[in-house]
């Protein structure tokens, strides 16, 4: 397998901060030891965490039970928090905090979409003109087993394509939509909120990461609905191929949560999959997420994404 496209010296940054970065797989995921997230971090620690995120796309911390205040404070050391969720908002008294309860999507249940190998994979809010950069998820109530989350490295996925395919994709865009699906009805209340907050953006299909310079296959399966330059049939076949490719096991890692586990991932270079197996057991699962502001993506030609509908995400004021 090929090395990452850019040289990111995780070891030097980790040594300077006195932390340990243990990779989970060849391409994706590392566990960081030796840092207390509930306390303010010094600059070398922040640099070590940032560097590890760039290299491994998602990093994990164990045994870091945090309050909402500590979780938000940790987030503010890495960037500016967005509203808890751009469409569904935050929780009382904590506008930055998104509650991920086990049945939060019960209202949106539609049940007519056939399950495919890539179903459910996504990066957060990629339908926005300026999708979030980093998401920070903490396990509060964690089931004893089940409920694992998976991530995939979309820079590694791009690197593994043929030069012919890469050159083809470099010229294309993806239409990312957050809107109520046509022909199916969720709960009226859910559909109303979504239709009021419809977002449609044409992002480059291959985005250049603003920090690492890596090329990334920007194909968030849940939000990507078409390739504007291609016919609908061409686009559908291409998306299916890319989604199948992007979620191959060799690009992914799978994280088993414990109470006090924290995951920090880069939405600009990953997609992730929320678990479905928890609905087969009675265990409760309550997670919380803080999400950080991101830039408008740009493509290999340097041109930025084009917003067709919806407002840009704005930070929560301090």
């Amino acid at each position: 397998m090929s090395a990452p496209a850019v040289n990111i010296d995780v070891d030097a940054a980790a040594a300077a901060a006195g932390v340990e970065v243990r990779p989970m797989s060849v391409h994706t995921g590392a566990v960081i030891h030796g840092v207390d997230l509930t306390q303010p971090l010094n600059e070398t620690q922040i640099a070590a965490i940032r560097t590890a995120i760039l290299r491994w796309k998602v990093v994990f911390f164990r045994g870091e039970p945090m309050s909402h205040e500590q979780h938000i404070a940790f987030g503010r050391q890495l960037g500016d928090p967005t509203p808890g969720h751009v469409v569904f908002g935050g929780i009382p008294d904590y506008p930055e905090m998104y509650s991920i309860a086990k049945f939060r999507k019960a209202n949106s249940k539609r049940g007519t979409e056939p399950l495919r190998p890539w179903s459910g994979w996504h990066a957060d809010i990629t339908a926005a003109h300026n999708p979030p950069s980093i998401s920070i998820l903490r396990g509060d109530t964690v089931p004893p087993y089940g409920g694992d989350t998976m991530w995939t490295n979309l820079a590694a996925a791009y690197n593994a394509l043929s030069p012919t395919m890469q050159a083809f994709l470099d010229t294309l865009h993806g239409e990312h939509r957050f809107d109520p699906p046509t022909g199916k009805s969720g709960a009226a209340e859910y559909d109303e909120v979504v239709s009021r907050n419809t977002m449609v953006t044409h992002h480059p299909l291959v985005r250049v990461h603003p920090e690492s310079g890596e090329k990334v296959l920007y194909v968030s399966p849940s939000f990507l609905k078409g390739i504007p330059e291609l016919s609908p049939q061409e686009g559908m076949h291409l998306m299916h191929m890319l989604w199948e490719h992007a979620t191959l096991p060799e690009f992914t890692c799978r994280f088993r949560w414990e109470e006090g586990s924290v995951a920090v991932w880069d939405n600009r270079s990953t997609a992730h999959l929320a678990p479905r197996d928890i609905f087969d057991v009675d265990f409760d699962r309550q997670f919380y997420r803080v999400t950080l502001m991101g830039d408008v993506p740009f493509g290999v030609d340097g041109k930025p994404s084009i917003s067709l509908e919806g407002q840009s995400i704005t930070p929560v004021k301090v």
Binding site: S162, T164, M165, E229, S231, E234, H237, L238, M241, H245
Partner: protein, 275 residues
């Protein structure tokens, strides 16, 4: 009164009336050639050509082609080598051409034209479908055309002909069937138009890219060429003749008439190396 050209669709196919293929004048041949290049497949009714006349008619278009699987099967009988027998009946396990294909596209120089005459036809069924590879190419988006324009694909006769021989119980282990790489988009040497040149019978993979990428592109293209928009469908009668241009059309012979008999013969005109 001269020959009449009656198109079946604006995209592909025309029926030619008021012509006797056994006694064709030079100026008629010129008009026929023009209609052939324009409509990609021509249909004729009530043309009771003998084996010799059939061969003679084909030879007016160029040197005739000997099929690489000729002689594999009993139904070829004692015909001259230029004749390919087409026959299906109650004992048939597998017919030839009941998937989309361009004839013998695995040859380094695949045939230009095929001229099929049916003598025995089922009471109903046994239609042949034709799909225009000009129209299929034209309907692609500009980025997809640009991608395909630079690719080549391998066409292998082995899997198709061996499968057929295996089902017929014929030992062909000693045979070597043609396999060749052709441009995915070929330029018709006479009209200069671009045509999609991959088919689900012979094209095994696109060259020089990973198998997964090749499979995805071919799956799309095979579904694309099968769109009714690009097609016409011919209903045979006794002594009907169809003549198609393998460089810009694919065809699909429906085997929906089992156990009835459908029988005839084909003459095939040599083509040149695709570019």
């Amino acid at each position: 009164m001269g020959m009449r050209v009656e198109p079946l669709t604006p995209i592909i196919g025309a029926e030619i009336n008021s012509i006797d293929l056994a006694r064709m004048k030079d100026n008629e041949f010129d008009s026929l050639k023009d209609a052939f290049l324009e409509h990609q497949v021509l249909f004729f009714r009530d043309q009771d050509l003998s084996v010799e006349e059939h061969i003679e008619f084909g030879a007016r278009f160029g040197e005739l082609h000997i099929h690489p699987a000729a002689g594999d099967y009993r139904e070829h009988g004692n015909m001259p080598p230029e004749i390919l027998r087409i026959h299906a009946d109650e004992n048939t396990i597998r017919t030839a051409g009941d998937k989309w294909h361009s004839d013998v596209s695995c040859d380094p120089e695949p045939p230009m034209a095929s001229i099929l005459k049916l003598e025995t036809i089922p009471a109903s069924g046994g239609d042949t479908l034709f799909s225009s590879m000009y129209a299929a190419y034209d309907a692609l988006s500009a980025p997809m055309k640009a991608l395909l324009d630079q690719l080549t694909a391998t066409h292998d006769g082995g899997p198709n002909y061996r499968d057929r021989a295996r089902k017929l119980g014929v030992d062909v282990s000693h045979k070597v069937y043609p396999s060749h790489s052709h441009p995915v988009v070929r330029t018709h040497p006479e009209t200069g138009r671009k045509a999609l040149f991959v088919n689900s019978t012979f094209t095994t993979h696109i060259d020089d890219i990973p198998a997964e990428e090749s499979r995805a592109i071919l799956d799309f293209l095979f579904a694309h060429v099968a769109r009714p928009m690009f097609q016409c469908r011919f209903r045979w009668q006794t002594n009907s003749i169809a003549m198609w241009d393998n460089r810009c059309a694919q065809h699909h012979a429906m085997w929906d008439y089992y156990p009835q008999v459908r029988s005839g013969r084909r003459v095939t005109v040599k083509g040149d190396r695709p570019f």
